[in-house]
Amino acid sequence: MTLHANTAETPAAAPAPRSSSPPPARGTARRSAAGLWFVLPFTVLFAAFLVWPLIAGLWASFTDRSLAKEESSFVGLANWIEMFGDPAVWQSLWVTLLFTLFTTPPLVAIALAMALLTHRATARIGWFLRFSYFAPFLMPVAVVTLIWEWMYQPGFGMINGLLATVGIPGVSWLTDENTVLLAIAITTVWWTVGFNYLLYLAALQGIPRYVYEAAALDGAGAWRRFTSITLPLLRRTTALIVLLQMVASLKLFDQAYLMTNGSGGPNYAARPIIGYVFETGFTGLRIGYASAISYLFFAVIIIVSVLQLRLFSRKEDAA
């Protein structure tokens, strides 16, 4: 396997032969009809469970649809106008963005550090590192939050106990509006870093050893090899991880909801926008308004993803 095949050329090379060979004249219609049948089950599910809800949600955002009423009426842009003037929407969107800023860098950096450690480790300890780094990711969110809620307890929790031994006074992790989001971010990093780690580890194993050997022969030190070989060759993986991570962090809900008992935390400091959608839609029964907020959030995610994709593809061009 060559280095090139590993990074750039495989996907680009694949379609080439197909376009150069002349299309077979006979049997195309028959074959494409058969192909349609194969695609049909997915298309039906895709249409029923993704396309239709998307359209229905958009429509609902222009109505006063309620969970507690069967009929609803068209209200035009009322929900959208209310949304732009609702400070809770912007506050919860800010909480979501803040959480993404808090979690994305460590979730990428720590995953890389752990992957590098494991990659260099001997076989004897390697399995143990892989297991212990990845294990938290396998836990359900309810278990993770339960464990961390007890660890964060002021008074008798483990974390404050450890801090006390080094003379740091107790912190009310989940009940102080300045620390609650940070506390949830720390829990999230611990819980989900294993997935990014796995991606990095796989990518590291795909870098051939001879590249390092060659660099070492040329006199490159360990740091130089890391910055000039490892990091550039991991760039595609990093781009993928950052994109997946940002989308995952923007989707913050479960752990924040569970760790604040659904209250959104002191002064709503840990209520993400999905939490607010849930609040208006399910606690408040206002499906129409909740749909409008969902669409705003949908737009934000798309904008962030496109920006991020652009940023990375430009780098690719430069390199």
């Binding site: 809620e149 102080d176 989707k251 606690t283 408040g284």
Partner: protein
């Protein structure tokens, strides 16, 4: 961020087209049979679908009651379904009721009655039918009965009332000298009493006197505010008595600020703080009783302290409601009403969970008087303070959630009572101005 495990392609099955079709038909048949109300089709038993929100200890007690109910009602095909309390339950309730075919009877918090579509989703209870089973305003706590009545129509059959009460650790309180000659906690009649008792208890525990859920301060707040005679108007312009609200909030602030109560203690930590002797008193809902009893703790209970007058405590009531039906079904309604009446009459089992049965012949019985410590706060049922009425108020509804998120800062000292009250007023006014979805 959950990824599914995709199984690899297995060995090719040696299965002909006919065999496959036959198997598929058989499987489809099984599925269809499972979906349909097979029992009702095949037998003439009356189907009764009940939805409830009881898990944990309450759930176990309800299952115990249901086992007895089934034994006595062989002609009823009883099908209970349990969902998690709070949003998970209430969203299913509203959607199920909107469909009009999901259940024949369901449990509810009476405080949510107005918010969940009285008249549109919830249908009135036929009181004549209920009276035939001996359930009338005379055999139920009248204050709870009245709470279930809207515009002269009874919309819910109350099973119990449950409210915030005082728990006290006996050995700790004895050492602190705050038990009376009968071995019960001394009466607390004003702010000074409360602070004295808490200080004495704190001396013994070495950490705190009292603990209450600081992330859900609505319960103590509403109790104190009501003791002061405060009213909350949730229509048009928000009506709230600032002085009284500030006094109630300031009491909560002082308890934490003076080190008599933790600055932060959430729903899970509060009973843990009490059970571990970190605090000798706890202000919490009566539903913590089974947990503490199972832990083998020596504790007593009495109503929420009457700091500003009567011993009024915030509370609610579990009740049964009947859905509005697409097609009328008198047999199902009759079975549902009979079931509810049966549950009320047998609610002595239910009282094991700390809830006070709404059916007075039970609470006046010797059997109930022998229940300890339940019998010690029986009379609190007459003084239970329900939440103010609005579509957004009540158990697990938005007003309580807002109060929880805002008032928690009063305990931690992050905000003054004045700031917290301003924020609460803004949140409440916001809810009032929101078009009602019901």
């Amino acid at each position: 961020m959950r990824r599914r495990h995709t199984p690899g392609p297995g060995p090719a099955p040696a299965l002909g087209r006919r065999a496959f079709l036959a198997g598929g038909l058989a499987a489809a048949g099984t599925v269809l049979a499972g979906c349909g109300p097979a029992d009702t089709v095949l037998t003439d038993r009356q189907r009764l679908r009940q939805w409830n929100l009881f898990t944990g200890g309450d759930g176990a007690r309800m299952v115990e009651m249901h086992t007895a109910y089934r034994k006595q009602h062989p002609g009823i095909d009883f099908q209970p379904s349990t969902f998690q309390w709070g949003n998970p339950y209430y969203t299913k309730f509203t959607m199920g009721a909107a469909g009009g075919r999901a259940f024949d009877i369901a449990t509810l918090h009476v405080s949510r009655l107005r918010g969940l579509g009285v008249g549109t989703l919830i249908s009135p209870v036929p009181t004549d039918l209920l009276a035939q089973h001996g359930i009338t305003r005379d055999t139920v706590f009248s204050n709870i009965w009245d709470k279930c009545t809207i515009d002269g129509e009874l919309y819910a059959i109350p099973l119990d009332t449950h409210l915030i009460v005082t728990y006290y650790n006996r050995p700790v309180c004895e050492e602190a000298g705050v038990l009376d000659s009968d071995g019960e906690l001394v009466e607390i009649n004003d702010e000074d009493d409360l602070f004295e008792v808490c200080a004495a208890v704190k001396e013994v525990t070495g950490q705190f006197g009292v603990v209450t859920d600081t992330t859900h301060a609505w319960r103590p707040f509403w109790s104190l505010y009501r003791q002061l005679g405060g009213e909350l108007r949730l229509e048009g312009e928000l009506g709230i008595d600032d002085d009284k609200a500030l006094r109630a909030l300031d009491l909560l602030r002082r308890l934490s600020a003076e080190g008599l109560a933790p600055k932060a203690s959430d729903g899970a930590a509060t009973p843990a703080n009490f059970q571990n002797g970190i605090a000798g008193l706890m202000l919490s809902g009566n539903w913590e009783l089974p947990t503490l009893k199972d832990a083998g703790m020596a504790f007593g209970m009495r109503p929420f302290p009457g700091i500003y007058g009567e011993e009024l405590g915030q509370g609610d009531s579990h009740c049964f409601v009947l859905p509005v039906r697409r097609e009328p079904d008198e047999d199902a309604v009759a079975a549902a009403v009979e079931y509810a009446a049966w549950m009320l009459k047998n609610s002595i089992t239910w009282a094991g969970g700390g809830h006070i049965p709404a059916y007075t012949p039970v609470t006046e019985s010797q059997e109930y008087a022998d229940l300890q410590p339940q019998a010690n706060y029986r009379h609190a049922a007459e003084d239970v303070q329900f939440d103010p009425q609005a579509w957004f108020s009540g158990s697990a509804a938005q007003l309580q959630a807002d109060a929880g998120a805002i008032f928690t800062g009063v305990h931690t000292g992050a905000v003054t009572p004045e700031t917290a009250l301003d924020r609460f007023k803004r949140a409440a006014q916001n809810l009032i101005d929101t078009p009602s979805p019901v």
